[in-house]
């Protein structure tokens, strides 16, 4: 009797383990949306006009040979149908192309495709990505810059985003004045490989405005909490502080700094601090929180004396302070 109970118990335990395993597998398969489908769709199930990847390999072996290293190979490995995977997933049905023995006019060739058509093709799969949900209204799209202007699917130099060149070289081919700024003595280290343009910018279109009021938001990539991109690295400037330098929150870091590069130390917009500070702190009516002017310094400051010309010597916590409304400590 005892023996029988133990057999039943062990059988039940084994069954539970099997059920658990089965459940885990089912869950994985459901979440993975069909992981174990075959690689090649049988010819008889091909939709009208499609020929399948195998046919493409015959004439384009150089493209196919290393395609398994391409992120788009995932669709092939998953065994998705030709409309949504492999060569024809992007280039469209190839039957006419094969029958005509090639030619750009018989297939969706991105080299001759209008920018909007190229964008729409890519968005068929990539529209669901959150950082691209404003691409339709982005400055790049408005300027007729299609995906394949920056991305090279078959000859990429960066495996992560399939860019046609390193970001530090790619973006400046159009933004040449920014290239000059990164060559200045004081700059963010983009050329040095420490950071990339996309650390601060979203080339696919930014979301809400954070600071400033004008349209020109320069595709700024915000922090996860939708604050200025600068604080992602410069965490000590984020606050909150008991006493904020209002300019930082209202007009943003760019009120005083040139973010790409500058001829002035600390990426400042002026070579000395007092000219920078006094341009706002001049007491002119109509400005400031109370519209009575941004306060001037007190009579104890003698601007003819060089010791008063470096404001941040004393106002050390200029980005915000917890202890002093004048940012002295």
């Amino acid at each position: 009797m005892r023996f029988r109970v133990s057999i039943i118990a062990s059988a039940m335990t084994a069954t539970i383990h099997k059920l658990k395993r089965l459940f885990a597998i089912c869950l994985l398969l459901w979440m993975a949306d069909g992981q174990e489908r075959p690689n090649v769709i049988p010819t008889k199930s091909l939709p009208e006009g499609y020929v399948g990847n195998v046919v493409c390999r015959g004439c384009h072996p150089n493209v196919w040979q290393n395609f398994y290293k391409n992120p788009h190979y995932k669709s092939v490995a998953a065994g998705l149908s030709p409309e949504t995977s492999g060569c024809e997933g992007c280039h469209g049905p190839a039957k006419k192309h094969v029958e005509a023995k090639g030619g750009k006019s018989t297939i969706r060739a991105f080299s001759i495709l209008p920018a909007k058509a190229a964008l729409n093709t890519c968005l068929t799969c990539h529209a669901k990505d959150i950082n691209r949900h404003n691409i339709q209204r982005s400055g790049h799209t408005q300027a007729n810059i299609a995906c394949n202007t920056c991305h090279s699917i078959h000859k990429a130099t960066t495996p992560k985003a399939l860019l046609s060149a390193k970001q530090s070289e790619l973006c400046v081919t159009c933004h040449a004045s920014v290239k000059a700024q990164f060559a200045m003595p004081f700059k963010h280290r983009v050329n040095e490989g420490f950071m990339q343009c996309t650390d601060c910018h979203n080339p696919h279109g930014a979301a809400a405005t954070v600071t400033r009021m004008s349209v020109r938001q320069r595709m700024m990539e915000h922090s996860q909490g939708n604050e200025q991109a600068c604080i992602k690295c410069h965490a000590d400037k984020r606050g909150p502080f008991a006493f904020e330098h209002v300019a930082v929150r209202v007009d943003g870091c760019e009120a005083c700094h040139s973010p790409h590069g500058s001829m002035n130390a600390k990426l400042l917009r002026r070579p000395t601090t007092f000219t920078l500070c006094l341009e706002c702190h001049n007491g002119a009516n109509g400005f400031g929180r109370s519209t009575t002017g941004i306060p001037t310094q007190t009579a104890s400051h003698n601007m003819a004396d060089p010791r008063y010309q470096s404001c941040t010597t004393c106002h050390v916590r200029i980005h915000g302070s917890n202890t002093d409304p004048l940012f002295l400590r």
Binding site: A242, T296, N322
Partner: protein
Amino acid sequence: MQKLLFLVVVSTALILGQPTVSPTPQQAGTARGDNVGDYNITTSFETGYRFYTVDGNGGMYRSNVNLRNGIRLLGGSVTMNSKDGKGRYFDEINLTLQGLGSDPYQSVFLRMQKNRIYRYDFLWRTSDYFNPALSVSNGRHFLDTTRQLQDHDVTLFPQSKYRLFFGYSRNLQEGPGLSTVQYFDSRGDEFTLFANIHRLRNEYRMGAQAEFFGFGLNVLHGWENYSEVQTELLNSPSPGANPNDRVSLNSLQRIAPYQGSTPYWRASLIRNVGKIFQANGHFTYSNGQRDFTLAETADGISRNGAAANRQITLSGTGNRPASTGNVTLSLLPSDTLTITNHTSIYNIRISGDSTYREFNGGIANLALLSFQYLGIQTWSNQSDVSYRISKWIAAYGGYQHSDRRIRSIQYRDLERAKGLVPDEQTNKLDAGLFGLRFQPAKRFRFSIDSEVGRTDHPIYPISEKNYHSISGRAQWKTNRLTVASSYKTNYNFNSNALTAFSSRGRNASLNAVVAPTSWFNLDAGYSKIHLDTLSGLAYFQSGQLVTGNRSAYLSNIHAINISARLTLKKRVDIFGGFNRVQDVGDDRPSSGTSIPNTLINQIDSAAFATFQTFPLRFSSPQARISVRLRQKLRANFGYQYYGYNEKWITLQDYNAHTGYVSLTWAF
């Protein structure tokens, strides 16, 4: 020997190069890699010795460049790809390294993924941040810190309709620094303090994305923790920066721990499946809170020559809840027409209080409760229409209206705060956009963009008030030649009865890339960046308020870069280039000479004239040679010169020679 090597390298290079000395881009060995089991593996490592010499201001060199002597892993990469996309534990591993050893900029990137199951991205970066005692703080501030940044991101089921995200980021800054304090009052002296800096930010996040009925919903929740413990000390008696006064300090200790958290939520709803109508919304809420305390003790001699000591204790809290949201509606009735409306709102409330207690000579002297509230609410709506008129011409136009309201309450001492009326400022912006795109030939395109904006109450004299921007771009692109040029102006006029501010920025650039053969290419560019501003000033000079003065700043930057790559018989790669950035200022021959007539009527104070322009030249020619020794082995040599030359204040000038010798090995 090093100089001889420099000469050999320089004479071999045809043209000198522009980026920082960095790992040689050429890969050793075959790019296709080796097959091991079901995987294809490629590896490449470049290791060598870096060296430098500096003549002049070493502090400024460290601030700008900071390459030092030593053995480095200059660069490296490892990739593993499963050939059928069905690896057991992973389908791809991609590891990229740069500058490991003790280069000032080091990074490691790792991507590991199994198709449809998971994807893991890891980025580690560190920078050796050196900030010398720059003139902007009278030479009394200094930093020699390292900053380490890490980002870990895991995505589960990345190709599925249901995805999960987990992430962790860490940002650490540590090292010594110098700061200053003014004692014992606002007419006292400045004293240099040693600062021990430790700042740490940790961020944890998790989220999910689901797609249903044509919608995508993405939700992310994160927690950011920040702590800062900065101790500042004056260990030995100091007469202060001004030896002519009687103020001195015997000692000062200050510790100011500061910490808190910022939990945040982000939710996005996307609908991009429709061909005619698309919509998305994006909402965030974060609630930052920081607690702080400060304890400071100092003793010395006051301005009156009397012995003085002061203790300060302070504590308080800062809060900043921020809500943002935006909704974008796009209508695409045809392939040629796109109509978009974008609405966004940004609402932030900052409040902080601090209790300040001061003891002078052991007697309670001052107790203050300070409070500050700052609320900023910005609402913005923009509509734009983009229409392709024909195959070669397209136009777009838009209109934006923004409304910003700022409320502020601040006081010290509760009793005096009774009946205080909060400050309030509102500002409205109306802006229009217009642009044209032309593509008369397949390889040629040009565009014109413009924006005009008006605001009624800009918050600062330098804020945008009456501004316009016009820019144009032209590009000719073939497989072997790309020529691009751009021109942009940004003008802003912001003035009232008492002051005037104008800012005029003009950028022009021309860039060409020629690649006539597979073994040669040439890249050359020129940029002119101009900025002139005119501002109203008010300041005190010898106790007298000076008003009505103006300050004019002028910057004229010319930047040129040229670089070339040459491959000889698939065995030798030569890269070289030249880069130079020069601000010619207002063309004055020296700071002591008179300013040009064009500016003479705009600058009223001689005290400011010196600082109206800052002529400076920074040049960095470079050469790299890479020679294939064997199938999978290359030898590399690199050299770069940096010359920093200020025209008027030459104390910060330097000339630096940097270089490296390395081997690139693939196995």
